[in-house]
């Protein structure tokens, strides 16, 4: 896409990334880039695969296909999909936070931030042996690490509570502490998974301030549902739906993209009914039958044997295992519609043009005729646009 952007301008390049869980395609052929010194937001409806992308970038999942390249400031390049989990923060300097906060709740705030400086301190302590005998080099490194921790505690406005256990903090402060902890690893790329979730407006504003401050030194990749945060602070937005990218650009252009609007707000039910009656196609009926697929519903096993740790990182409430029914993707419907509209006679095309520029949901009047024709005319095209959905349908 941004082929003209020079390589050292880009910090992260995700190319043709796919992540499959068994037959489920959580991410399908996703490519995007994040530029250095910018805040790149990854948005999309629930279950779009945003957290899966994060887990692939930070090594908690090994992607099925694709390449994730990280360019560090010093010119070195890392292929993140090849690095072991713990080396991604340690060597490639990618830090992350979690959607469900993961602090060391029984340790104090200061200790949380010192744990984050583990690798640096480990070297300074001569892999424990020098530190055990109290060598001065370790003492100095230890004092420096406390200074760094104090620096980030001050930035996160938590310095007064430095000696309290992390589990004792209110929710918003825990979110800020998790960001401060990630920053203590000295990252070049900071991945934040819904940092504003559950924050009140004031806390949210404080968070924006903190992120804008961090942005000066560190690039940020952000998953967020709170559109006020996304629109205010992000420089670049990537929109996912059902594991596919549906839009990519600056916040303004994404906001007005009809595919994004359709993905978030959906197309009208009435419109769907009209399509059904006008076309009378069984395939369309099947497409619109978006009930849950029992075979691929959320995991119902609570057993510890269900899998290793990495399998439990996903969030049960969000439903990482995407079940895509035929015709579920709203963005694809918009695609199909506008494709058919292009080959329409003048009067209808005029109406359809309104649809694509409209800020709200597509207007009924235009959509009735357009959608009906779109569905009947470009059935094949629609199926091609959704190989995942096709597979799902085949399994039924």
């Amino acid at each position: 896409m941004n082929a003209q952007a020079s390589a050292d301008d880009l910090i992260l390049q995700v190319e043709h990334l796919s992540m499959k869980f068994g037959g489920l395609v959580a991410i399908g052929d996703l490519s995007f880039q994040a530029r250095r010194g910018e805040i790149t937001a990854l948005i999309g409806p629930n279950g779009a695969g945003k957290t899966t992308v994060f887990n692939c970038i930070t090594g908690f999942y090994k992607p099925t296909e694709g390449m994730i390249t990280l360019n560090k400031r010093d010119g070195s390049t890392y292929l993140l999909e090849r690095l072991p989990n713990h080396e991604i923060p340690a060597r490639a300097n990618v830090a992350r936070t979690f959607q469900n906060i993961r602090l060391f709740s029984g340790m104090t705030l200061l200790e949380n931030l010192l744990v984050a400086q583990h690798n640096k301190l480990m070297k300074a302590s001569g892999y424990t042996f020098l530190g055990l005998f109290g060598f001065p080099s370790y003492r100095q490194a230890s004092a420096e690490s406390i200074d760094l921790a104090r620096h980030w505690l001050e930035k996160a406005d938590l310095v007064d509570r430095a000696d309290d256990p992390a589990g004792d903090l209110p929710y918003g402060a825990q979110r800020r502490l998790e960001i401060a902890r990630a920053m203590c690893t000295g990252p070049e790329l900071l991945c934040l998974d819904e940092p504003a979730a559950g924050l009140n407006p004031r806390e949210s504003a404080a968070l924006n301030e903190l992120l804008m401050d961090i942005k000066n030194s560190t690039s940020i990749l952000l998953i967020e549902h709170d559109m006020s945060v996304v629109m205010q602070i992000s420089d670049h937005v990537v929109v996912l739906e059902y594991g596919r990218k549906i839009s990519d650009g600056n916040p303004q252009s994404v906001r007005t993209d009809p595919r994004v609007i359709a993905a978030y707000l959906g197309v009208d039910d009435e419109e769907v009914e009209t399509v059904l009656t006008e076309v009378g196609d069984e395939d369309v009926i099947e497409q619109l039958d978006t009930g849950p697929d029992a075979a691929h519903g959320p995991g119902n096993s609570a057993s510890m044997m269900a899998g290793p740790v990495s399998d439990t990182v996903e969030h049960a409430d969000e439903g990482e295992r995407v079940t895509v029914s035929k015709g579920a993707s709203k963005a694809a419907q918009v695609d199909a519609r506008s494709a058919s509209v292009a080959g329409k006679p003048a009067p209808v095309a005029k109406k359809a043009a309104k649809v694509s520029t409209a800020k709200a949901a597509p207007k009924k009047t235009a959509a009735k005729a357009a959608a009906a024709k779109a569905d009947s005319a470009s059935k094949g095209k629609q199926a091609a646009a959704k190989p995942a959905a096709g597979k799902r349908g085949g399994r039924k």
């Binding site: 930070t58 908690f60 989990n85 713990h86 080396e87 991604i88 923060p89 340690a90 830090a95 992350r96 979690f98 993961r102 602090l103 060391f104 709740s105 029984g106 340790m107 104090t108 200061l110 200790e111 010192l114 744990v115 984050a116 400086q117 583990h118 690798n119 301190l121 480990m122 302590s125 424990t128 530190g131 055990l132 109290g134 370790y138 406390i146 921790a149 104090r150 505690l153 310095v159 430095a162 000696d163 309290d164 256990p165 992390a166 589990g167 004792d168 902890r181 990630a182 690893t185 510890m304 044997m305 290793p308 740790v309 990182v313």
Partner: protein
């Protein structure tokens, strides 16, 4: 304690009425429960026939005791406990606590007087009172001494709390000296003092300190890293057999073999660690338990090397850093070098200081490690493994170092154990040992060195003290052996402590670094780890 009556009736009933009613219920329940357990007993008669023995008297006694106990609890103990929580209307103060009522100066003086009088009369007690009453008198004397010591500790409790480590270490360092001096005064001769100190230094001192060391070693694995290891005794066995085999076959000195045994145990810690890295919680516990059993079975069955159940004996004694020996036949025997009377107590006292030194080494290393990145990583691993990985911590090596460090201290303790016993056999390394060490760690409060030391004192010292209660034989007949009940008491004590303090004696955690002030972290925030 379940109140079975409706609240309206409770309002009108006085405590005595209610107690009476509940005593009847309790008696009825006890009757129903015990009628078959206690009331009837099957036995063999002289012609080997199965007969039924009826013990209605005993049953009646148990039922009446239950009913009376319930009556006293409801009528007096409950209102008393409630009254402790009610503030006085006039002063607004809470009534005196149980402890301040229990420890009073007159009682303290009385206890001192009784203890002193009975100590003075010690030699002539049997003659004065007869053997039965003399047994009770000795028990009374022990109680009086314990009460006096407890009173002093209660009076100085804030001081003790503030200087716990320093006081504890100096008390441990002075313990053999005090024992020898006291017994020398008591028996009137220095030799008698040394001879009498054997039991106190060996059975109590060394025994407890071995468990303290084992529990502190296991504390690294369980308390800090949160990995539930039920096979810890395996490393103890590795250390013991390392010293026993290398010492008897190659005649190597203890001072060379102590680190070697530690290294070997650490190696086996890593060997165990590798396959179980991916396991967590219950699964980890089961596999480590199996590992402990494998080591024990190998020791039993690999007869060519370990001599099987026939044990390895003749393990060389520890020398005084090569300068003096504790073998009477050697030319540099300690008594010959120092020109003092021959006694076996010197070796025991030396061993006491040796294990004390090893314990202090363990404590020092643990305290240091907690402030180093590796120790913090262990605790972080206990709190949240996924977050650890997101911060670039290599959880594999972190877990392995925890296993290896814990195992190393187990190996040290094992080689000391072999040197102290003079023989090793697989029976010393059964699962019960692992369970006891684990119980000490849990009872003491996971992660707290002081709490674990107190728990070891209570559990090991307590069971050893049961052996001293000889007078009980006079009460329950000569067949009664109090040692056999020690596991029962042990279990009851654990249940009571866990009800009273669910996170162990010391449930809070000391932070490893602080910015402004050191605040202890309440146990409700720390996690136990997922294995």
């Amino acid at each position: 304690m379940a109140v079975t009556v409706s609240p309206e009736r409770d309002v009108v009933a006085t405590p005595v009425q209610r107690a009476f009613r509940e005593a009847l219920y309790a008696g009825a329940i006890a009757l129903g429960l015990f009628v078959l357990f206690i009331g009837l007993r099957t036995d063999q008669n002289i012609s080997n026939e199965l007969i039924l023995v009826r013990r209605w008297g005993l049953l009646a006694l148990v039922v009446v005791l239950t009913a009376v106990g319930r009556f006293l609890y409801v009528a007096y103990a409950q209102p008393f406990a409630a009254s402790l929580k009610v503030a006085d209307v006039a002063t607004g103060l809470l009534p005196e606590s149980m402890a301040t009522r229990f420890f009073r100066l007159p009682y303290f003086i009385a206890a001192i007087v009784i203890a002193f009088a009975l100590l003075v009369l010690a030699g002539s007690l049997d003659g004065l009172l007869g053997p039965d009453l003399a047994g009770y008198a000795r028990f009374l004397r022990a109680l009086a001494i314990i009460y006096a010591v407890a009173s002093v500790m209660f009076y100085f409790r804030s001081f003790i709390h503030a200087h716990f480590s320093a006081l504890g270490v100096s008390a441990l360092a002075l313990y053999p000296v005090i024992v020898v001096l006291t017994l020398a005064l008591y028996t009137g001769s220095v030799a008698g003092g040394f001879q009498g100190s054997l039991k106190w230094v060996d059975n109590f001192g060394i025994q407890i300190l071995i468990y303290v060391m084992l529990a502190w070693g296991l504390n690294i694995v369980i308390g800090l890293a949160g990995l539930l290891d039920l096979g810890y005794v395996a490393f103890y066995a590795v250390g013991a057999y390392a010293y026993a085999l290398l010492g008897t076959h190659f005649g190597l000195s203890f001072w060379i073999l102590l680190p070697a045994a530690g290294c070997m145990a650490a190696f086996w810690g890593v060997m165990l660690g590798f396959p179980v890295l991916r396991l967590r919680g219950d699964y980890l516990a089961i596999v480590t338990l199996a590992f402990g059993e494998i080591i024990r079975l190998v020791l039993i069955n690999w007869r060519e090397v370990t001599n099987g159940s026939a044990r390895i004996s003749g393990i060389p004694k520890v020398s005084f850093f090569g300068l003096m020996s504790f073998n009477v036949s050697d030319p540099n025997y300690i008594a010959k070098v120092l020109n003092i009377a021959t006694s076996s107590a010197y070796y025991k006292i030396f061993l006491y200081y040796l294990i004390l030194g090893l314990c202090l080494l363990t404590a020092f290393v643990t305290i240091r490690l907690r402030r180093l990145p590796v120790g913090r990583a262990w605790e972080a691993l206990r709190e949240d493994e996924i977050a650890c990985r997101s911060l670039g911590i290599n959880t594999t090596t972190t877990k392995l170092t925890a296993f290896a460090t814990g195992a190393m201290f187990g190996g040290f303790a094992g080689s000391f154990f072999a040197a102290r016993q003079g023989f090793v056999s697989p029976e010393s390394f059964v699962f019960l040992e692992s369970a006891i060490v684990l119980a000490i760690v849990v009872l003491g409060g996971m992660g707290s060195l002081a709490g674990i030391a107190v728990a070891a004192l209570v559990m090991i010292g307590g069971t050893e003290a049961l052996r001293e209660l000889d007078f009980l034989k006079r009460v329950f007949g000569p067949d009664f052996t109090p040692e056999l009940y020690r596991m029962l008491l042990f279990g009851m004590a654990m249940v009571i402590v866990m009800l009273w303090k669910p996170r162990g004696f010391v449930g809070s955690r000391e932070p490893t670094a602080f910015l402004k002030e050191r605040k202890t972290v309440s146990g409700s925030f720390t996690k136990e780890g997922h294995g």
